[in-house]
Symmetry: D3
Subunit: 242 residues, 6 copies
């Protein structure tokens, strides 16, 4: 079956990772997955949140936001309604968990790395792009610390990337764009490491419940897609993190 933009069900959109996109952050990446574009900036601060003080361990956290016109119609800024959009709250918690899961916080030391993911154009899969791109920004920032002699090896366990999968017209497929996502029956997000192990998954039967079999199909598609995404990450920052 041909998809809206001609891709196969297992095919991801073109991925482009531009490192050093913004000058000032310790790590900066523009990630483009098809028409979805996210700026991922990593900031290193020599302190940790109050609840972690004095343990000698570090923290990795994320903030996620969309420019008002990243979407078809304009979304008012959070500050207008004095309220972080619940969707953003949920997504930035996901990004933070994903990146922490591959970081050795003990070896990081009492430092916080904040990954700001600002979506400048949204065509589906923005949370996944934020994780995939955010990991690269994290690597760049950690490498800066390595250059400063804080540690010899990056305090990371593995790569981490994320991809969406879904069932559209009863057909499982990966890396949905906005049209597929909003028309689909089932919507998944997979976060995995470079060995196909799962770090986090979320799946919703938006239109109908789904079977274990369907979940297995989506897992298989996602596993293949993650492999390709990690390859793209490797091309961008593999010289810094084997």
């Amino acid at each position: 079956m041909a998809r809206y933009d001609g891709r196969k069900v297992y095919e991801i959109r073109p991925v482009k990772i531009t490192t050093g996109f913004i000058t000032y952050p310790e790590g900066s990446v523009l990630i483009e997955c098809g028409n979805t574009k996210v700026i991922c900036n990593a900031t290193v601060e020599n302190s940790v949140p109050p609840f972690m003080k004095g343990q000698g361990r570090g923290w990795v956290t994320a903030e996620y936001s969309m420019l008002p016109r990243a979407t078809q119609s304009r979304t008012p800024r959070d500050i207008q309604r004095l309220k972080l959009a619940p969707r953003s709250a949920e997504i930035q918690r996901l990004i933070g968990r994903a990146l922490r899961s591959v970081t050795n916080l003990d070896r990081l030391g009492e430092r916080t790395v904040t990954i700001d993911c600002d979506v400048i154009q949204a065509d589906g899969g923005t949370r996944c792009a934020s994780i995939t791109g955010g990991f690269c920004a994290l690597v760049l920032a950690l490498d800066k610390l390595r250059q400063e002699g804080v540690f010899h090896q990056l305090p990371l366990y593995s790569y981490v990337a994320a991809v969406s999968a879904g069932i559209v017209g009863d057909v499982p497929m990966v890396d949905l764009n906005y049209v597929e996502d909003s028309g689909g029956e089932v919507d998944f997000n997979f976060v995995m490491d470079d060995e196909g192990k799962i770090i986090e998954l979320q799946g919703t039967g938006e239109d109908r419940p789904f079977s274990k079999k369907e979940m297995d199909d989506m897992y298989a598609l996602a596993e293949g897609a993650i492999r390709q995404l990690v390859q793209k990450q490797r091309e961008a920052i593999g010289h810094l993190f084997g």
Copy 2:
């Protein structure tokens, strides 16, 4: 392997569903899953949110909150910090999606059912208890509309219940209490209908990534648990919704 409280890995905690717990709501339930206790109150209003006006369809939404001392130490109220706790934001979105997924919004008509889930005591699994109990409150409220002649049959597709599963000490198990949850390596929540179909699932490798095989094990455990939970729901509100 014996669990902390002597349960088998496939065994859920004692469930008690008290209907009519609070007098005023259209539907009210106290659900107790072991030491976790949640008041689920359903409110029917004859209007829908602005973005749904004039479509003739209804809406089901949820709010989730914990009393400050539902937990071991006191948590300041949201209003103190002028911010809905991000965790609550995430959970109430999940509850709302779960309950909407089994509701025929067209047949509900331009009405909103709000399910308030207030945790008065928290010992793990509060979001799952909120879904399982919230569904019963929803049935009670819809039955009130049926009695008023709004429809002949409840506008529901199926039962919906939720249970946690996880890997603790490398052993998959269901319905984790607080001690198991905070000590576990992997944490899952399954929302399913009464046929074992999945409505939503979320899984996190909090301590390490997990394999497809482990996910399958947890799914199997959850499926069995959901069957028992639906049975408990049936005992509480089965006379109203076959």
Copy 3:
């Protein structure tokens, strides 16, 4: 004259005080005054607010909130409007003052006891029930400190309880339920100790001004009611505070 529910003008509603209602707080009580139900949880923290630091004295404070469906129609949560309901602000200040007035803050030491009063069902007199029940939660929490050896005798001067009184159809009466309260002309709240001395009173001529004579009548009714309420408190926590 017979009242709505058959009570005499001097008769209070049935009172039930369940201690240890919630497991985690240092003191926990469910107080039921007729159909009004309030969970009162006491939390002890080893610090005081900034304005009291370093004086060696303690602090007792209260927070008051209602579940959205404690009432006939649903009230949006405070966090929805980013604003503590002014009525709640007023009531929790009253509860705090009442409980502080019977506490020897010097002997308490640099500790804060916070009494969370969460109304789960409201049928009039919720602020009075919060004070009467909150005092019991306070006793339970202080007794825990006594068991830990912080002091030998509870740092309390006397019992404190509260009751409403009002004029309904030109008849003074005590402990108004919601129907009486909303239909009445004059509304009073009395906070007293176990010797009938007044700790706080508030009276409003909601529908008309009232005379000194009427105030005296209400005082007499309230004095008798408080005696009964203190008796109920004594049954619940008298073994801890003679």
Copy 4:
């Protein structure tokens, strides 16, 4: 016994009511009670709050605020902490109730009168001064409506004024200034009409409980004081409201 400033226990501070203090409001008054100074501005709007729409009745409400340096030390503005000071919330509710109690809301018609009470200098008794002065601003604003032909007689039942009373060094006295107020054992506020009937009273045993006898003494002192305050009001606006 001589008071701090030489007054007798039954003596109020010098009162000065300046009408037309600010040019733009429909009614404007500067009230000075000793060193306490409050600007009371009345605004008339041809609409009512949502909950009163379509009933043909009016509304009277109040807002109360203090300039940051109305007091000895600077108090941050509410907007700084994004929170109306709870004390202000409580006081403005009291002022609103007091002024509504003497207003015939039916005859006012669907209009809202808002009384802004801004304390520019605070030396005790600011809430009472706000009520006494606020009533004058209300009369001025209503008179403007009368001049416009909205009604022939002001829609008011009676005068209303307020005064504090308290027990300082075991001596009951009226109209406490800041030094007396903060050093006193018992603190009362009486709101009365011009016949000595009570519209609202609040009394707190800040330092110790008090007896019925003490309350009676304070009532007697307050009654006399209110008579003097109403006389001052009459001098300021008596030509408009007999």
Copy 5:
């Protein structure tokens, strides 16, 4: 050409500066420029904002607010909308910059002077009146520190005053009142020292762009006006700051 109120184009409105207007602040001034009336209160605190700690330097800052009925129609208070009015935010930044520009912050030492400018009646030029009056309040507060021996000479470089200018009906004029301001084509504010040097200026072509020549004309008018304003300041506080 005669202006609305008969003034010449170069003529400022009558200025009255009342020192010691409020009792408690370290410096207090009521400034009246025609019908514009602003209370300027200066508070001295022995600390500085976090970003200045430990540098041994002081800080001067300002807050600006209007009473709800300082204007023709009532403006809701900031706290009502949980948002500092953007116009106020802009103005208080201007006042702060203007007063800091003439203060020797090194000699002030680690102290903060906060100038609260509360407009009680607004007839145009409130930001300028706030600067002109705020400077006097600052002098009074600094003089108090001098009396306490903190320094021998006031840590001030020069006088600072402000005046508006504008083009109304193609005629440049100074010190616009509300009617002129809202009907004018171009609106300027000049902040200058006592030698006619410019500390800050803001100019807006509200109705049309303006030429360099017109700007020069307004500068000339403003320079003359500032001279008169400084003379007024000198009369009020010149005995303290030569």
Copy 6:
């Protein structure tokens, strides 16, 4: 005198305007002035703010924000502190006024054009770049309305652009970068049309007051710079707006 980056005092930084930068907005531009980069997105909505309803006129407004790492160190997001940064509040009011000043709001009809200016990299002059780039986004959006037949000619009076000027080391110069800006004594922003007429100017003696002569020098430099900036605008959108 050579500047930090070798420019002459009258020389602006390289300007690059990329139209159609983001896909969805009605007008989208990336403007780069040296290392300062701002995304300007224009949104057209068929409604106006409440205060303008029913007048048949349109509105142009702006919002300004910086990504957290647009700067050397990370700035927390506004939503974190529940407060629009006062600096942003001031700047977005300026941008809005500048763009409205060249727009014929009558001919625009009851539509709102919102210009979102999001700074992704800040090296001085961000407010000026926002105006210069925002004008181009406005033209693109208005042209879209023209294509839809709303009007035949763009409802614009002229071009508008903005540039900073300042005195650094006693030397007047234009288009300051961050290093020059933060080290300078005087800081100006000029908003002008394509005939060198002034639409708005703001000047601050950050380090010392400045003379009329210095202001004239800066005006001359700015006038020349604006001419160059308008030329850049013309190259980008001149085919749409003569």
